[in-house]
């Protein structure tokens, strides 16, 4: 009954001060929403088990050679798995693009080559037809395919007679044998499944093809035991086959990840912790603010509390009574935050699936779920403790005697002042850290969004082609294939221009007479091969000529260089026909320069402007590369233009599976949208955090100064001028500012080092200093203003009034 009365009293107090209630609620809902949304979004991204029966125990195998990740050698794995004790199931798969054609129209879909037990492993059976049998896996078997529900729905209008029909996949007649249930896209985002080709399982399978594996550990074995056993078993076989078939050397080691973890390359824990810490900092800021507001209210009512205590109310009862307002507001705030987060998650899910549905792993679904609700309860408890319990506890533990005797004078003495100073320092630390991290993110987003890449991707399609050593044994065969592809594609009526580009990484420019054979002392220059000319990428000719058919295998090797390279190494001389030496893949080549072209932006000079881009273009007719991308500018509609690519490909070699044939702007647009979104989120969350911090600092300072009004009155009574009082208070505020900022800058320095490594040093170090300087100055100004404002108010009161202030 008495608790009921306390709750009623608290509700009445909240209604009596609607402005206070609204502000507190706003702050709490903001903080809780950001924290909860961040948790839920990342949890679904990284930790949520696969939505399949037994999904939590399914793992993905990752293999490394001497610590470097690599494609799984399927032969060794399939051989090794026979004797594994710790593994219940282990199968390999390869995800790639497939072209589904109907008459002259086709569509590229992501599909997976799988082993026959995939559907029984995931305990999901087709809703129509059947899954794969061991017979379907034989190389002599007729080609078969199982379609996803969405492919069946979208491409075949849910044709109930689809099973048994023959469709063309990569121009090969293939029989549809089954349709999987809605939402099933295991292992990642498969739209269709085909039997794993024998070539991928063979002893001499090309290790550059990206083969992966999934499985399940027996319940009696730990993950670590299984990793050790798989690694050792595979390595034992690999060491034999590697010697025999000249495979890359190295010791194999196995790591098991959950599928969501594997999707973030095993960095999920770091990402989850980092972003949740940032979001939790915002909740902490909100808690400090609300706690401070509630503390100020508790101080206002300290006389009432003292009277209750004097009348015999026990401490726990007093604490609870003081907490009810905070509890009610927090519960209401949490409820609103949960509703808001639920809507935000639904919106995020709809938005992401509308934009990039086919590229998203099938388990990436966002919405309100049990872990999010549990975390909401956790956050609510934390908020109640931080924002309600601590202020109530402090207020209930006051010196009753002095409060009753002197009002509030002296009741909030040294300890309260110290607590306020600590809280202000914490707020400054949190906001400076958030702003510094946010500034990097915002700067990068804005910089990349507004970057002039020169390249024009309007009406450009690109696609990758990988030629295996098995089918294209000699460099000449590979060169011929790409040259043929280029010639045929250019002859298409809807193709205006084309280029075949192979990225060679960096080559070393061996300057005359300096080749001592030592490594790492020559300039490293980005090098790419071209069939076609650089003007496709808007890199116009400055002097000389473009690479063309004259630069064939029988002719001396020719190169183009970028203008910046010419100016750097040969500023005052003509470079045309100049002979230079470049070391490419450990082989020294003597080449002569036939032309100089304009600079374009490349990865290594992304933050240094076009003038620092040194590039060498070699002829794709003279240097071979197994994997190259074909770019072409088309006229007419995009579907027909895409079809032209496949027509050329299937004419030349119908066994080749191209990689991502799509408009070149697609990735760029996606990246742009992601960055715009990141910018909005960063600015929104950063702005909210800044608002919280400033109002918090203002509130805490006001509260502290209000508690010191009497002291200020005394100081002024004995002759302190307004200026001296303001200086004293600002000096104290500056101390907190200095400590908070220093801690923030320290954390920022640590993060900057990590970020510098993460971005391979592409961001100039000076930028970190500029950002740190800008944020520090900005924060200095706004925080000092937040401290100055209540200070100014304090001295506006007549000393006499200050002396009587209670």
């Amino acid at each position: 009954m008495s608790i009921f009365l306390d709750i009623k009293y608290a509700i009445r107090q909240l209604f009596k001060t609607p402005k206070f209630t609204a502000i507190t609620l706003f702050v709490l809902v903001g903080g809780l929403t950001i924290s909860l949304f961040t948790f839920s979004f990342l949890y679904s991204l990284i930790y949520k088990p696969l939505p399949l029966p037994g999904g939590e125990s399914i793992f993905r195998l990752s293999i490394s050679t001497n610590g470097d990740g690599r494609s799984i050698p399927a032969y060794e794995l399939l051989e090794a798995k026979q004797g594994l004790q710790s593994i219940e199931h282990l199968e390999v798969f390869e995800t790639t693009d497939f072209r589904i054609s109907q008459q002259d129209v086709g569509k590229t879909l992501t599909g997976t080559y799988v082993e026959n037990e995939i559907f029984s492993f995931t305990q999901t059976q087709p809703i129509l037809g059947r899954g794969f049998t061991p017979e379907d896996m034989l190389s002599s078997a007729a080609p078969t395919v199982v379609l996803s529900h969405s492919t069946w729905q979208r491409e075949y209008s849910e044709d109930s007679n689809i099973v048994g029909k023959v469709i063309r996949i990569n121009d090969l007649p293939t029989t549809v044998i089954g349709i999987m249930p809605q939402g099933y896209h295991f292992p990642v985002n498969s739209q269709l499944w085909l039997p794993l080709p024998q070539r991928l399982k063979s002893l001499t399978a090309d290790t550059r093809e990206y083969i992966q594996a999934y499985g399940r550990v027996k319940p009696t074995f730990s993950k670590e035991q299984a990793e050790l056993e798989i690694g050792q078993a595979m390595d034992a076989i690999y060491q034999q086959t590697a010697r025999q078939f000249q495979k890359p050397e190295g010791k194999l080691a196995a790591t098991l990840y959950t599928f969501p973890h594997a999707q973030t390359d095993g960095d999920g824990n770091l990402v989850f912790t980092f972003f949740n810490l940032i979001a939790f900092s915002i909740l902490l800021l909100a808690c400090i603010n609300v706690g401070n507001l509630l503390l100020a209210r508790a101080i206002e009512r300290s006389k009432e509390t003292a009277i209750r205590a004097a009348l015999g109310a026990p401490t726990n009862r007093l604490v609870l009574q003081l907490m009810w307002e905070g509890i009610i507001i927090t519960l209401l705030g949490s409820l609103l935050a949960v509703l808001l987060v639920s809507d935000l998650l639904d919106y995020t899910d709809a938005l992401l699936h509308a934009e990039v549905s086919e590229n998203l792993p099938f388990w990436w679904r966002w919405g309100m779920d049990v872990p999010t609700l549990l975390m909401a309860i956790g956050f609510t408890i934390v908020t109640i403790v931080l924002a309600s319990f601590i202020p109530a506890w402090r207020s209930a533990k006051q010196d009753i005697n002095s409060t009753l005797r002197d009002g509030t004078r002296g009741a909030q003495g040294k300890k309260a002042g110290k607590m306020s100073r600590i809280l202000v320092t914490v707020q400054i630390f949190l906001i400076s850290t958030l702003m510094l991290i946010g500034s990097i993110s915002a700067f990068l987003s804005q910089y990349l969004l507004n970057m002039d890449t020169i390249e024009d991707y309007t009406r450009v399609i690109h696609g990758g082609i990988f030629l295996t050593d098995k089918n294209y044994k000699t460099p000449e065969q590979k060169i011929r294939f790409f040259e043929d592809f280029y010639d045929r594609l250019k002859r298409k009526h809807n193709v205006e221009n084309a280029v075949v580009r192979g990225y060679f990484g960096t080559s070393e420019l061996v300057l005359d007479g300096e080749d001592s054979g030592a490594q790492n002392q020559f300039p490293k220059i980005d090098t790419m091969s071209l069939i076609g000319n650089t003007e496709f990428f808007s890199a116009q000719l400055v002097e000389g000529r473009h690479l063309d058919k004259r630069d064939n295998p029988n002719a001396p090797k020719s190169v183009l260089i970028s203008d910046s390279m010419k100016k750097r190494y040969w500023p005052n001389e003509s470079v045309l026909n100049k002979r230079i030496n470049i070391r490419l893949n450990d082989k020294l080549h003597s080449v002569h320069i036939v032309g100089v072209v304009k600079d374009r932006l490349n990865e290594s000079s992304i933050f240094q402007g076009h003038s620092s881009e040194d590039e060498i273009y070699i002829s794709g007719r003279q240097f071979e590369r197994s994997y190259q991308r074909i770019f072409y500018r088309y006229s007419g509609d995009v579907t027909t233009a895409e079809e032209s690519f496949y027509q050329v490909l299937f004419t030349l070699d119908r066994t080749i599976e191209p990689y991502r044939v799509e408009p070149a702007s697609k990735n760029f647009d996606m990246m742009k949208k992601a960055m715009v979104m990141t910018s909005y989120i960063t600015f929104g969350a950063g702005g909210f955090a800044l608002l919280l911090a400033l109002t918090g600092i203002y509130g805490l300072t006001s509260n502290t100064i209000a508690q010191r009004t009497h002291e200020i009155g005394i100081r002024r009574a004995v002759g302190a001028t307004d200026k001296e009082v303001i200086q004293m208070l600002l000096k104290q505020g500056s101390k907190q500012l200095a400590i908070g900022l220093s801690l923030g800058l320290f954390v920022f320095t640590l993060i900057s080092f990590a970020f510098h490594g993460f971005t391979d040093g592409n961001i100039p170090v000076v930028l970190y200093f500029v950002l740190a300087g800008t944020v520090t100055i900005g924060l200095l100004i706004v925080v000092l203003a937040a401290i100055y404002s209540p200070t100014r108010k304090a001295v506006a009161m007549e000393p006499n009034a200050a002396l009587r202030y209670e």
Binding site: G410, G413, G713, A717
Partner: protein
């Protein structure tokens, strides 16, 4: 000789949303150097407000105030602070010591707002007044560790540390028991005998009798002004509040 304090037609009006209160109503009062004046009257009669205005802790709504021949009515906040710091010493009923500062630091406070004093000078002055109020043995204590009488003695020491022209005491014995009250009154008596000018607000008749001159207020006005030892009665013109001593 011109008076040290001269108030001419001083009024103080407090206006809240609904009520307008005339706390001090056209008061004229002169206090000469070396006088010991008791300002008495019932609660709410305006004596503390008048004292605050005399101490430049508050400003008058109307009227003029001359301190040592200088009109201080129009001074800005900083000029008033400087006068408080150098010419006035305050003693309050509730002591008004800063709880986070030690006895020594509390007494030192007015000197910290003066320029040109070195550490030694400050220490010397503080120790001197500490000795005068017999609190030297408690200089490192905090106010909460002292009795009421001791706190008030510290407050008196703080009021003396800057060697003020006059001391304003607002109910200095109001929060003290009779023994401590007597000790504080004796201290004020000593100060007066040493030549200090004192103006004390009190509603205790016994304390008021210790002063040489007694000014009585009622409803914001001075109703009598008398010299205690000579039993001189003051005549008050009720229309102008002008006090004249016969």
């Amino acid at each position: 000789m011109s008076p040290l304090i001269e108030l001419n037609n001083i009024s103080k009006l407090f206006v809240t949303e609904e009520i307008e209160t005339r706390a001090v109503n056209q008061v004229n009062l002169s206090i000469n150097k070396g006088e010991y004046v008791a300002l008495s009257g019932p609660s709410g009669c305006g004596k503390s407000t008048l004292l605050s205005m005399m101490g430049l802790l508050d400003t008058a709504t109307t009227g003029s105030y001359e301190l040592a021949g200088v009109n201080v009515s129009q001074l800005n906040a900083n000029q008033r602070a400087a006068i408080r710091n150098k010419k006035i010493g305050f003693i309050f009923q509730s002591f008004n010591l800063i709880s986070d500062l030690s006895v020594f630091e509390n007494i030192m406070l007015p000197l910290t707002y003066q320029k040109g004093l070195d550490k030694n000078q400050i220490q010397q002055q503080v120790n001197q007044v500490l000795a005068k109020v017999e609190m030297g043995h408690r200089k490192n204590h905090f106010p909460s560790q002292l009795s009421g009488g001791q706190q008030q003695r510290v407050a008196v020491a703080r009021a003396l540390v800057n060697s003020p022209d006059f001391i304003l005491a607002d109910e200095p014995t109001g929060n003290l028991d009779s023994k401590n009250a007597l000790a504080v009154m004796n201290l004020l008596e000593e100060l007066h005998q040493d030549g200090s000018t004192i103006c004390m607000v009190t509603h205790d008749p016994q304390s008021a009798l210790r002063a040489r001159r007694q000014v009585e207020m009622f409803d914001g006005q001075i109703i009598s002004d008398s010299i205690n030892s000579l039993s001189v009665k003051a005549k008050v013109d009720s229309s102008t509040s002008q006090v004249s001593i016969a």
